[in-house]
Symmetry: C2
Subunit: 380 residues, 2 copies
C-alpha cells in the first residue's frame, strides 16, 4: 500500500515523504546543509533538527547568499478558508525563526482570492473574515512589525496585477493542467490564480526562501521555469511534512473534520477531550500487553506531535520514545504530556494574540515594510 496523493487541494493515503522527494523532483534536506546553517546561526530549530522540514530546492544557494552577504527574504502564505489549526503554523514558526536569526523581511500572502474561487460554499465575506482572523493568528507568533508585510490578494492586487500579467503571459493552459491537474470544468479564476502565488517571489531583487508544506511545491515548478526569463531569481524552497491528523498518520488535518485537528482557539478542555478521545494510539490493546510488548512511536500521534512540534528537549524526546517502546510509558501518559504542552502553548499564544490585536494594521498597512510595499508599484 503506497498509494497516496499530495496536491495543493488534497492529501490522502499514507504519505511516503522519500517517495515524494522523487515524485516532485526536489532535494533531501541533508545534514551537511543543516550543519552549514548551524555554523551561521549557532543552533537549529526543532523543525530542522527533527526533519519536519525534510526537502528543499536551492537551499544551498540561500546559504551561499548568506555567506556572501547578499542575504535573502522569506515568503510564505495562508489560504483563509477557516480558523487555523496547529498544523498550519509550521511554515510561520520557521519563518519567524529565520527572521530573528538574520533580521530578514518576511512577506505573507493571504490568498483570499484562491479560497473563494476554490470553495463552493465560501463567499468573499467569509474569506475576508477568515483572512483578518488568520492574519492576527500569524503575526501573534511574534513577527517583527518593521520587517513583516502581510497582505490579502484582493487588496494588494493593485500592486501585483502588472507582474501577474507578466507571469500569465508565460504560462499556458497545458502547463497548469499538467502541473495542477486542472480540468475543463475548472473555473477561469483558478486557472489564473497561480500567477498571484508566484508574484511575491519577485518582491525583492534577491533570492526568496519559501518555507511551506510540500503540497505547495507545484507552484514553484512553474515559477522556476519562468523566473529568469523575467529577470528574477528562481525561488528557493524548504518543504515541511504535514503534522499528522489526530485520528491517524494518514493524510493531513482537515477543516471539514474538526476531530482531526486542534484549533488555535480550542479551549484547554476541548484540547484535552479531543486528544484523549481521538488521538490515534501506537499502544497495545491492554495495559498488560503494553507493559509487555511496548508501543509503536511511529504511528502514535501524541508522540509524533511531541516529536515534531511540542517537546523541544532532544534528550527528553528520546526518553519518551524509548520509554514508550519499552512499555514503560502508557498511551494515556503520552497523551497527558502532549495535552499539557499544547495547552501551555495555546494559553501563551492567545495572550500574545490579544496584545497583537491593535498592531495588525502595522503588519498590513502602515508598519515600516508594509508602508514601503504599498508605495511600490511593480512594473519592470
Amino acid at each position: 500500500m503506497d498509494e497516496f496523493e499530495v496536491s495543493p487541494w488534497n492529501a490522502s493515503g499514507k504519505i511516503d515523504y522519500d517517495k515524494l522527494i522523487e515524485r516532485f523532483g526536489t532535494q533531501k534536506l541533508e545534514n551537511s546543509l543543516l550543519e552549514e546553517l548551524k555554523n551561521l546561526t549557532g543552533d537549529l530549530h526543532l523543525f530542522l533538527r527533527r526533519n519536519v522540514f525534510f526537502s528543499h530546492r536551492d537551499f544551498d544557494k540561500i546559504l551561499n547568499d548568506l555567506k556572501n552577504g547578499k542575504g535573502f527574504y522569506l515568503y510564505t502564505g495562508r489560504g483563509p478558508s477557516g480558523p487555523m489549526h496547529l498544523g498550519h503554523l509550521l511554515p510561520f514558526i520557521i519563518s519567524k525563526w529565520f527572521q530573528e536569526k538574520f533580521g530578514l523581511n518576511v512577506y505573507i500572502e493571504i490568498t483570499d482570492d484562491e479560497k473563494f474561487l476554490h470553495s463552493e460554499n465560501l463567499d468573499l465575506n467569509d474569506t475576508y473574515r477568515f483572512s483578518m482572523e488568520n492574519a492576527l493568528d500569524i503575526i501573534s507568533l511574534g513577527f517583527d512589525e518593521d520587517r513583516t508585510f502581510i497582505f490579502l490578494d484582493s487588496e494588494y492586487i493593485r500592486n501585483m496585477y502588472k507582474l501577474s500579467l507578466r507571469v500569465a503571459k508565460k504560462v499556458n493552459y497545458s502547463t497548469v493542467k499538467a502541473v495542477f491537474g486542472f480540468k475543463d470544468s475548472t473555473n477561469i479564476g483558478m486557472l489564473f490564480y497561480p500567477t498571484l502565488q508566484i508574484v511575491p517571489t519577485f518582491f525583492e531583487n534577491r533570492r526568496c526562501l519559501i518555507p511551506e508544506a510540500i503540497d505547495q511545491d507545484p507552484y514553484w515548478r512553474i515559477q522556476r521555469d519562468i523566473a529568469e526569463s523575467l529577470g528574477h531569481y528562481k525561488a528557493s524552497v524548504i518543504h515541511s511534512k504535514f503534522l499528522p491528523p489526530l485520528t491517524g498518520i494518514e493524510g493531513k488535518m482537515s477543516s471539514s473534520m474538526p476531530e482531526t485537528a486542534i484549533y488555535l482557539n480550542d479551549s484547554p478542555d476541548i484540547v484535552k477531550r479531543k486528544i484523549m478521545k481521538y488521538a490515534f494510539s501506537g499502544g497495545q490493546a491492554t495495559v498488560e500487553e503494553h507493559r509487555k510488548l511496548g508501543g509503536n512511536t511511529d504511528v502514535d500521534v501524541a508522540f509524533q506531535w511531541l516529536y515534531m512540534m511540542f517537546e523541544e528537549d532532544d534528550r527528553r524526546i528520546k526518553d519518551l520514545e524509548q520509554g514508550y517502546r519499552k512499555g514503560e510509558i502508557l498511551t494515556g501518559e503520552m497523551k497527558s504530556i502532549l495535552i499539557e504542552k499544547i495547552n501551555g502553548f495555546l494559553v501563551d499564544f492567545r495572550n500574545r494574540r490579544e496584545k497583537y490585536r491593535d498592531r495588525l494594521d502595522r503588519f498590513m498597512y502602515d508598519g515600516k515594510l508594509a508602508e514601503k510595499m504599498w508605495e511600490t508599484f511593480y512594473d519592470r
Copy 2:
C-alpha cells in the same frame, strides 16, 4: 464564397452581416425600434439611420427603461494596441451621442491587460503609452467630463478584482474555449481576462448599453448567462459593422497594414495620398466605360466611408450614390469629396485634442464621475 470569420481577434473574408446576426444569435436593429428611439430624441444619428449599428441584444429593454424613467448607462472600450484609426471611433461617437441626448454616464475601459497578454510584441510600457494616447483621442470626441470615466484595467483592477473573482467563479475553461476558441496553448491571462471585460456591466444598478463592433459580442454571451445569478442585469448591446478597409470591403482595418486605414494623426497629405492610392474603387477601368456603365457603390470604399460616416446629409449621399451608379460621378471625384470630409474632420478633431490634453485627468482620476468611481469598491 461566403466564408468569413469574425472574432475579437480576427475578422476576415467578406462579412455577411445578416448571417452574423444568425450565427451570433443577436437581433436585427429594426426600424420600429429606431422610430421609438427617435420619438424620444427627436432625431437619429447617422450611424442609426444608415444601419452602421445593425444588430442588438435587448435594446428594446433599454427603450423601456428610458420610458419608465429608470434610465441606463453606457459602457464601451478600447484595446490599446497602437494608434487609433477612424474605424475605432464608431462606438465612441455613438456613445457620445447617447450621452448628450439623455445626460448619461459613460464608462470606457482601456484593456491594456488584454492587449499585453495577446500581443507577443507589446510590453506593458507600450500598452501604457498607447492607453494614454488613445484615452486622449477618445475624450476629444467631446465627452462630458462630469459623466465619463475612462480607466485602464491595470490601474482600476484595485476596484474591479473582487467582482472579477465573482465572475470567474461562474465561468470554466470549457466555456471560454467554446466561446472564444481558446486552445491549450492559450496563456492563462487570456483565459481570465474575459472577467474584466464583463465587470463594468455591473457598475451601476441599472441596465447598461454597450455600443461596440459586432466582434465583441462573445463576451456578452457569457455576461448574459451569469449576470442575473450575480444580482445584476443582462447587458444590452448594439453592434456596429466594421468601417471597411481602404483596400477593399473584406475584413477590417488592420494596424499591421497601415495602408488599410486612416489614423487620427495622419496629416492631410497622407490622407490624400492613402485614399488616392489605396481606396478600392467600384468604378470602371476607364473614364469612358465608367461614363457608359456607371460604378458600383456597394464595393466603392470612398462611397462606403461617406455613407457610413462622413456625409451627414441624407439627400446629398443619395445624390452621390445615384450619380456614381449612373457614371456621372467619377471615382476620383468621389475620393476627393471623401478626402475633404476626412481632413475637415481630422483638423477639427486635432484642435479639440490639444484643448482636451490638460483635461484627461478629469476623465480618468478626479472628475465628478471618476472620483466617485475611485472611491467605490465593488463587493456585493
